[in-house]
């Protein structure tokens, strides 16, 4: 149970950070893809820079998880045939909705009711994928 509260807290912290970063402001997505306002590009680029350095440091220290001491996961996602069309489809939805899975949830907490539609869609899309995979 403690572990579940930890992740609830981490989710809240990440939601707050996404809000401060402008990632919960839908207009900044249109601004990004129209090349009018690159706020979110700087957010992503800086985050990757920090992540790259930090992951190397954690690996070099052979760090283990501070809570529970389990091994830290550095497992990258695999290359698949579906990755290419999937990424293009995701990108189109990202731009048209002005949101991504994490930010849509944080947007709802900010009072953006339109996020409910996006969240419904994300859940339906995930569900549709799961049904197809369950039949195959």
């Amino acid at each position: 149970m403690k572990h579940k509260l930890t992740f609830l807290g981490l989710g809240a912290l990440f939601g707050l950070i996404l809000s401060r970063a402008g990632a919960t402001t839908p207009d900044l997505y249109a601004g990004l893809f129209l090349f009018e306002d690159l706020q979110l590009l700087w957010v992503i680029a800086t985050a990757i820079g920090v992540g790259l350095i930090g992951v190397q440091l954690l690996k070099a220290r052979r760090a283990r998880a501070l809570l529970g001491g389990e091994e830290i996961s550095y497992k990258g996602k695999p290359m698949t045939r579906a990755l290419i069309p999937g990424s293009l489809i995701f990108g189109a939805g990202w731009g048209l909705s002005g949101a991504c899975p994490g930010t849509a949830l944080a947007m709802l907490g900010e009072g953006r009711l339109t996020a409910l539609f996006v969240l419904l869609g994300i859940t339906l899309g995930t569900w549709f994928y799961g049904l197809r995979r369950s039949r195959a």
Partner: protein, 165 residues
């Protein structure tokens, strides 16, 4: 609502990157959000896919992480001195200028766009957080490819939307 504090892009990115590392060091778990929507599906679906692999335990950390995110959005408003909480249907000037204002039509477009996000993320194996931020931080090449294609899809769809409108 529209007066929430937004930091400079680099500062926001610094915080997102630091968060990735905090979660990784604290819990050993790599940042990722979209898989958690499968946990939500597992709560209401008997389909095999939602009860095997990543979803063997639908009440794992991903579900609680997802539930925390809206709380963070609310905090974002409450901790902004100039903002007060209120519900809004506006997406801001850019989208409002091209999307219909009728709620049903706007809702239909956003549900459809969300569907692409959810379906695309599962096909691709992750979303902005899992592929772009966590994946590239690991120097994982499939994640780099996915992230480039996220941008290609986003640019194409939004340029087309604003050109048609």
């Amino acid at each position: 609502m529209l007066d929430i504090v937004i930091w400079a892009g680099w500062a926001g990115g610094l915080a997102v990157g630091a968060f990735l590392l905090l979660q990784l060091w604290l819990t050993g778990k790599l940042l990722g959000v979209s898989t958690g929507f499968g946990n939500l599906c597992a709560l209401g679906s008997k389909a095999k896919f939602f009860h095997t692999g990543d979803f063997t335990d639908p009440f794992n950390w991903r579900l609680f992480f997802l539930l925390g995110l809206p709380l963070g959005g609310l905090l974002g408003v409450l901790l902004s001195p100039e903002a007060t909480f209120s519900w809004t249907l506006s997406l801001g000037p850019r989208y409002d200028s091209v999307f219909p204002s009728a709620l049903w039509a706007r809702g239909l477009i956003l549900t459809g766009a969300g569907f692409l996000v959810g379906y695309g993320a599962r096909l691709a194996g992750g979303c902005t957080s899992g592929h772009a931020i966590a994946g590239i931080s690991l120097l994982n090449l499939p994640s780099l490819l996915a992230s480039v294609l996220f941008f290609v899809g986003g640019i194409a769809a939004v340029q087309l939307l604003f050109w048609l409108a």
